[in-house]
């Protein structure tokens, strides 16, 4: 019987069926479930790597060692992994290697919406794009075959909508293919200039062969219909096109690099009007135009965001439009916010109070940038907080460094915060770095990492000692504070910011979602003492709200987890922690 699966689980299933024995990843929405799902199959190795570059390198090594290997990451993770990836395209594989790039059009949970199909042409590797979970599984299996047949890593490109949509999948049997022999082959695998020049020749030959394969592969297919309109499309956009224009002619591309030029020319010649529907960049469109084919694309659609069935319908003409019940214009927005009891809230409250310049990073705590915390000056990419803080200091001088902090989560610090911290020591910075240590990778759903002491399978392992590591780097001033003890935290920040030396403050408290709230106490607002000043409301916690007509704060017992932060913030002592 067919089973419902999200795209990510289907990819894991496909890799398992293809006989993959190794999978590596760093968690990142929308890719996270791929490798956590793979890890649940029997007899396979899976790991959370410290970052995507390491994941790619471990994957490359496993492939050289003869294992079919799956490597997964979000779109921006491929940037981190790009260095090994580009050159691994030169060496080629032994066991097949599939790298999944999970792109995020619309930026549901990302800092940019780059289109990683671009890596196909830039890094010169085949890119395959499924349009539902069944294809996600089948294409993953096929990608391993292509990888070994053409001696190349293969990119499976998906988007958020595919990663997190459930569609029906028919499961197959696992192919037990075992581990291929390993033989030393330095001219293939040692990429020094003399050898790499030879390998580049192979890469170009391989691309020509892949192009021939694309012409006949089952991945690309024409569905002839009404020939007055023909659409070339791929991925989930194919489903949208079929939904709103079921009768037109469609060329569905499952392989988006290299493109099957003969099929595209045949399709173009067979339709009166040719349109390309692709989210984000005109990757297909620009190539088709370069072959002198008349085509419409981005002049109809947009480079921005995620497409929808109604958007395609509106641009290409189809059925009726929305009935327009809309009340939405009058509805207050509901932005995401830090959870009740979140340790980050104590940090951002204090940083705001001290009016510091805050160089931020990627994680739940990026929400500290939003109202009412407004607690972040910049956030660029994983690990950037520390380097940008040092840059601020070098631009504006040492005095200014006394009011700049970098904030970075524990998982993000291990991902890419260690090398910039070394830079601070080496180049005589005085920056203060706050590591928001909630002992998990919270934003993506609580994955373990090297400093939690547990593997992806939940087994105990060596635990990275952050304090010892930071001291070994050469930071003399390392201290651990509880971020929900506001006095302690503020004192630590004052002292470390004054110091003309680099410092690290580890604000340590587990993620509120991983802790049971204390049952023997509860928070209470004493109405006689409450002055209605709203200071407690400005911490932006759903556990406390303001009764406008009474001018009083009140605790919401359904959401409050008794962390006590509001009580510390109140200057009139109106919020009490009651026993029982």
């Amino acid at each position: 019987m067919k089973k419902l699966m999200i795209g990510n689980d289907a990819i894991a299933r496909g890799a398992y069926e293809a006989g993959a024995t190794v999978a590596t990843a760093y968690p990142g929405t929308p890719s996270t479930e791929i490798v956590s799902s793979f890890a649940r199959y029997p007899g396979v190795y899976a790991e959370w790597s410290p970052n995507e570059k390491v994941a790619m390198e471990v994957g490359a090594g496993a492939s050289m060692g003869g294992a079919r290997t799956l490597v997964a990451m979000k779109h921006v993770g491929v940037n981190v992994a790009a260095d090994p990836l580009y050159t691994f395209v030169y060496t080629g594989v032994n066991g097949g290697l599939v790298i999944v790039s999970a792109d995020d059009p619309g930026m549901h949970s990302s800092q940019n919406e780059q289109d990683n199909r671009g890596y196909g042409r830039f890094a010169k590797l085949p890119v395959i794009e499924p349009s539902d979970s069944q294809e996600a599984k089948d294409y993953t299996r096929l990608a391993f075959t292509i990888s070994e047949e053409f001696d190349t890593p293969v990119m499976l490109r998906i988007t958020t909508r595919l990663a997190h949509s459930q569609t029906l999948v028919l499961e197959g049997e696992r192919q037990e293919i075992g581990i291929k022999d390993y033989k030393k082959n330095a001219p293939k695998n040692v990429m020094l200039p003399g050898f790499a020049r030879e390998r580049h020749v192979e890469v170009e030959k391989r691309l020509l062969k892949l192009k021939e394969y694309a012409q006949t592969s089952e991945l690309n297919r024409i569905e002839w219909g009404d020939r007055s309109l023909g659409v070339i499309t791929s991925g989930v956009c194919y489903q949208y096109v079929k939904e709103v224009l079921p009768d037109i002619s469609v060329l569905k591309l499952g392989m988006v690099n290299p493109l099957p030029d003969k099929i595209i020319c045949e399709f173009a010649a067979g339709v009166e009007r040719l349109v390309i529907v692709e989210e984000l960049e005109p990757v297909i469109e620009e190539q088709v135009r370069s072959w002198g084919i008349a085509v419409e694309g981005k002049e109809l659609f947009t480079l921005l965001g995620e497409y929808s069935p109604e958007f395609i319908e509106e641009r290409l003409g189809g059925g009726a439009q929305s009935a327009g019940f809309g009340l939405d214009k009058e509805i207050p927005a509901r932005p995401p916010l830090l959870c009740p009891g979140c340790p980050h809230r104590g940090v951002f409250h204090t940083l705001k109070k001290m009016r510091l310049t805050v160089m931020g990073d990627i994680g739940c705590y990026t929400l500290g940038a939003l109202s009412p915390m407004d607690g972040m000056d910049a956030c660029v990419c994983m690990g950037a907080s520390i380097g940008t803080a040092l840059g601020m200091e070098k631009a504006r001088g040492r005095e200014y460094a006394g009011q700049v902090v970098a904030v970075i989560g524990d998982s993000t610090f291990v991902h890419s915060g260690i090398t910039p911290l070394i830079d601070i020591v080496y180049n005589q910075g005085t920056s203060t770095v706050v590591i928001l240590d909630n002992s998990t990778t919270a934003m993506t759903g609580h994955q373990d990492h090297p400093a939690t002491g547990f593997t992806i399978k939940g087994e105990p392992t060596a635990k990275l000692d952050l304090e010892a590591l930071i001291k070994a780097i050469g930071i003399k001033n390392v201290r651990v504070v509880d971020p929900l003890q506001l006095d302690q935290l503020e004192q630590a920040l004052k002292e470390e910011l004054q110091r003309r030396e680099p410092s690290v403050i580890i604000a340590k408290r587990p993620c509120a979602l991983l802790q049971k709230p204390p049952a023997d106490i509860k928070m209470v607002v004493e109405n006689e003492l409450c002055k209605g000043c709203k200071l407690c409301i400005r911490i932006g916690c759903t556990g406390i709200y303001f009764i406008e007509d009474k001018k009083l704060a009140a605790i919401n017992p359904n959401t409050c987890v008794n962390c006590g932060l509001c009580a510390q913030v109140c200057t009139f002592d109106a919020i009490k922690i009651m026993e029982g």
């Binding site: 067919k2 089973k3 419902l4 929405t29 929308p30 996270t32 549901h108 949970s109 539902d132 909508r161 997190h164 949509s165 459930q166 569609t167 029906l168 989930v236 489903q239 949208y240 079929k242 939904e243 709103v244 079921p246 929808s308 069935p309 109604e310 319908e313 009726a320 439009q321 929305s322 009935a323 327009g324 019940f325 809309g326 009340l327 939405d328 009058e330 509805i331 207050p332 927005a333 509901r334 932005p335 995401p336 916010l337 830090l338 959870c339 739940c364 929400l367 109202s371 009412p372 934003m443 759903g445 709203k534 409301i537 932006g540 759903t542 406390i544 709200y545 303001f546 406008e548 359904n558």
Partner: protein, 197 residues
């Protein structure tokens, strides 16, 4: 397109259990032999933001997301969210609203007021609006978190999903220790439909 497609939009606030609800409904549709697609949102929006999941079933489903103006039913876990997503409803469609208010940040901080009469205004626009005290019913069943399954009960009664199939899906999806409360919540939801429809 051949055959009838049912489109259910499930909206609420991150953390309210919209994901489990969509998975239960989708499982029922699978058991009934339909083609099914479900779209979910993970990640940042789950942190107390406005969340939506979409369930579509019928003979053949292409898009995993529902077109604006094409939802047969909006199942809202919170009143504001029902109003926010109303332009997805099909003419003649039904809105089932949990009579539950969760203040979003701009309201909590006093910048704007929670529109008090919002469920009444939805009911003015949509003839088939059902307002259910799902949270109160869930509390009576033993846990406020079962409000989502109370709503599943109301929905099942409203569109004629077979109760035994829904119970089968609940048994598969809900952890053993919460099962008794959830089955009770489902039955109470079904009964409640008779009282309010």
């Amino acid at each position: 397109m051949a055959g009838k497609t049912t489109n259910i939009l499930i909206v609420g606030v991150g953390g309210q259990g919209t994901l489990l609800t969509s998975r239960i409904l989708a499982q029922v549709a699978v058991q009934l032999g339909h083609d099914v697609k479900v779209s979910e949102i993970h990640g940042m929006a789950q942190r107390g933001g406005s969340v939506v999941s979409e369930v579509r079933y019928g003979d053949k489903i292409y898009s995993p997301i529902i077109k604006k103006g094409d939802a047969d039913i909006i199942l809202a876990f919170e009143k504001l969210e029902a109003a926010r997503w109303l332009d997805y409803l099909k003419p003649g469609g039904m809105v089932i609203i949990n009579n539950n208010r969760v203040d979003p940040l701009p309201v909590m901080s006093g910048k704007v007021k929670y529109p008090q009469d919002i469920d009444r205004r939805v009911a003015e626009l949509v003839e088939r609006t059902l307002v259910v005290d799902a949270s109160a019913i869930a509390v009576a069943c033993g846990n406020v978190r079962a409000a989502n399954v109370v709503l599943v009960g109301v929905l099942a009664a409203a569109i004629g999903l077979p109760g035994d199939q829904v119970e089968k899906a609940i048994r598969e999806m809900v952890p053993a220790k919460a099962l008794a409360i959830n089955l009770k919540a489902f039955n109470e939801g079904q009964k409640q439909y008779g009282n309010i429809a």
